[in-house]
Structures are given as C-alpha cells and as structure tokens.
Symmetry: C2
Subunit: 209 residues, 2 copies
DNA sequence: TGTACATCAGTGAACGCGCGTTCACTGATGTAC
DNA sequence: TGTACATCAGTGAACGCGCGTTCACTGATGTAC
C-alpha cells in the first residue's frame, strides 16, 4: 500500500521521532533505516527523500535530545521559585524523559553516536556540557540566595546531581522496567539535598526505601 | 606469516584481553572477530578454534569485567582499615580500571551486550547488582562502626557512590582523555564523604576545583 | 472552474560492502612404541 | 634416541545475510493560465 504523500518538514519530524522511539525500545543496535521506515510507514528508500543519509538522521535525533534536555531546564525554572525546588523538578523531569521518551543514557552512550565521526562526538560532548552548565547555574543561583552551601563547587555538585539519575537509569533500562527508578532517584535526592543546604536548615531526610 | 601455535587456554585469555582492549580504545562498534583476530595476531577463522561464536567471546569478556570489579572490592578492603578509607580506595580503583583497562560504562552500556540476548542482559544486570551489593556492604560495615550515619539507606548511598564516577567517566570517554577525570571524582568524593559522616566529624571539604 | 504541467514524495529492484561463520586443508606439537 | 601417528591450532577461500544507499519510475499535489 502506498503511503500518503506528506510534506518533508513533517516527515523529517516523524523520522526523528521514530528513530528515538526505536532507540528507546530496542536499543541503538536495532536502529536501521529499514526499522525507521517501518515505524514511519514508508519504504526504506523513501527516507532518503528527507535526509541525505543515516548520519543526518542521527544528527537530527541528537538535536532533539539536546532540545529536550534544555527544555527541561527551562520547565524546571518555571516549576519552582527557588533553587532547591527547581533542581528537584529538573530531576523528576529528567527521570520522566528517560522513562517515557528518550533514554538519554542510551543515546549518549550509543556507539553509533559515540564512536562515529569525531565531529558528532564533539557535538554530544557539547550537549552534555551545556546541560551540565545549566545545572551548575541553577546551583549557583541557589548559592547566591543562601539556599545552598556556598563553599561547594557548583560544577562538582552538578556532576553529582547527574550521578543521582544515571546508575538508577541504567538499572531501570537493564531490568526492563522492573526496577523502581523514580523512587530510587527521589530517595537519593533527599540525601543529596540534605548535603546541599547550609548547616542549621531543618533536615528532611531519614527515609529508608 | 603463520602464527605460532598456542594452547587454547592461553589463546582464550588473549582473545578476551584483545576484545576488552578494542572496546576500550575504539568502542563496541569496532569490536569484530576480524579486529580481535588482528589484535591477537591470527586469522579471523582461528578465533573459532577457541570460542564457538562471537557471543561466547562477549560472555567471557563480561566475566572478566565482573571479576575485575569484584577484585577491586577485595583490593579496597585490603587497602583500608575502615569503611571510609575503603570506599575511597574503591573509587580510585574504579577510576583506574576505567582509564587504563576496561571502560566499564562502555561495556555495561554497549548495545551488543545490552540489547543482545535476554540472557546476557540478565547477566549484566547481575554483575551490576553484585557490585552494588558489595558497595552497600562496605557502607553498612561503616554504619555499624559508627563512621557513617546509620539513618541513611545503604543501597541508596551505594547508588550515589557509583553516581560519583559515572558522569565524569562519560565526559572523560567523550573528550578522549582531555577531561580531568580522577580530579573530578576526588572532588565529588570529598563532598560525598562529608555527607556520610555523622554530625560533629571534622569537615574535610571546601575545595574548589 | 477546468486543463496542462512542474514539482516532489513514494516505490521496488539492485548494488556493494562488511561481517560472522564454515570447512577442507596444512603443518606443528606431543605421545606411544 | 628415533620413528609413526594422533591431536590440535592456524589458514584462506567461500558462504549467506543484513544493511545503507542509488536510481529509474510512478503517481499524487499544487500552480499557472
């Protein structure tokens, strides 16, 4: 059956979404032009009407991931009125992103993106660094506002912040959803949060999960 | 030139080492039977004298990684006489392992191992869980000894502990060694350590890097 | 509103390539006598 | 110590397969008149 003719801009978007969906559900190894075409509902060669090569599809997917991550930062800013609330919100948004749409670790780690061209690796690094810088900025704002201990290095904290999600994310991915991902991250956040706040702030921790 | 005839047990070891070396240097995508054979110094078909398939080579490599990780735990126990010293030692050993021999994240994440057979994924999960359990044990020992705050969940702390290494490890891998991996981890450890110890313990943090 | 043509997305067959794997053969090593 | 044979690791050619990509062709959509 012939697919309905569709504008390139729309198809390009469908293709990127399809690619991310495949990565999310089956992993990077299963990302082939054929699989993407299948998901979109066209024949493999049709993909080449909208992207010049598989590489271009990957580039577009990477941009999408970058946009989602930075979009989450903006969203978290809106969600909370102080640094700690914003960080918490960002963490939850990140978890949701990984669970429902884009398994960020898979994308970041995937060899195809990773070991491919030097240029693309630089780009992935850039995305990572940008995200990290945004997190560090949230932390610095908290430090200036007196919500977060000012003697701690914001970059180190930003890295640790990402470290709250990553190991649970891996476990979650590997266990095929069995693992209580969000709960674990929340629990780690409680511990981390207690460490951020200046001495004298009422402790909110003590959960065991 | 014909390769010198070598006992299977030795060749099997060489093959696994070669595989890990290739993963470390070029990534999983470049791990082919041909590449392994090249590294070992034999012809591709010779590999099949020692392993039945590529899958078997991967399984053996995974066992090797598991052994290294658990070996590090045992080594860290010897290195330090108290929980905090042991945890620090384990962290440094882990960094060294990632830097010099086995980029654990690449192995754990690699699609080949990851999205391959369900059985192998279970096995990777197992390795991960075992390592985590060992770390949690070190923490619990510290809690019983009064070195680590007893109200914190040891499993959560173990996860956070791994989170100290992972994001820096990724950055390091992506930046091709430019990034100051060990320094970053040490800095994160200082912050984490201060969070572990009961109130009243002399603070050792305050570095900025 | 209707017709003629240009544009552009979809199709299916075919390609070259790399990779995992097989297999008959070679030749070195070790063992029995 | 020397000879005959079994064992076993190494070799190179060949295979089937999947994948990214190309290309001539089809047919739908939009535009000019």
């Amino acid at each position: 059956m012939r697919a309905t003719k569709t504008k390139t801009e729309l198809r390009q978007d469908q293709i990127v979404q399809a690619a991310l969906k495949i990565i999310a559900r089956q992993g990077f190894q299963h990302l082939s032009i054929a699989a993407v075409a299948d998901e979109v509902g066209v024949v493999p060669s049709a993909i080449y009407r909208h992207y010049g090569s598989k590489e271009e599809v990957l580039d577009a997917a990477l941009e999408q991931v970058s946009a989602r991550l930075l979009g989450n930062v903006a969203g978290a800013r809106r969600d909370g009125s102080n640094a700690l609330d914003r960080l918490r919100s960002l963490l939850l948004r990140h978890v949701e992103l990984v669970q429902n749409e884009v398994p960020v670790p898979r994308v970041v780690f995937s060899e195809a993106i990773f070991t491919g061209q030097k240029l693309r690796r630089r780009r992935v690094l850039q995305v990572f660094e940008d995200y990290l810088a945004q997190i560090a900025r949230l932390i610095e704002e908290g430090q200036r506002a007196g919500e977060i201990r000012p003697e701690l290095c914001s970059r180190t904290l930003a890295m640790m912040f990402l470290g709250l999600v990553q190991p649970p994310a891996i476990l979650w991915l590997m266990s095929e959803g069995e693992y209580r991902f969000a709960e674990q991250v929340k629990s780690a956040w409680a511990v981390f949060r207690a460490m951020l706040v200046p001495a004298g702030t009422p402790p909110a921790i003590g959960f065991r999960n």
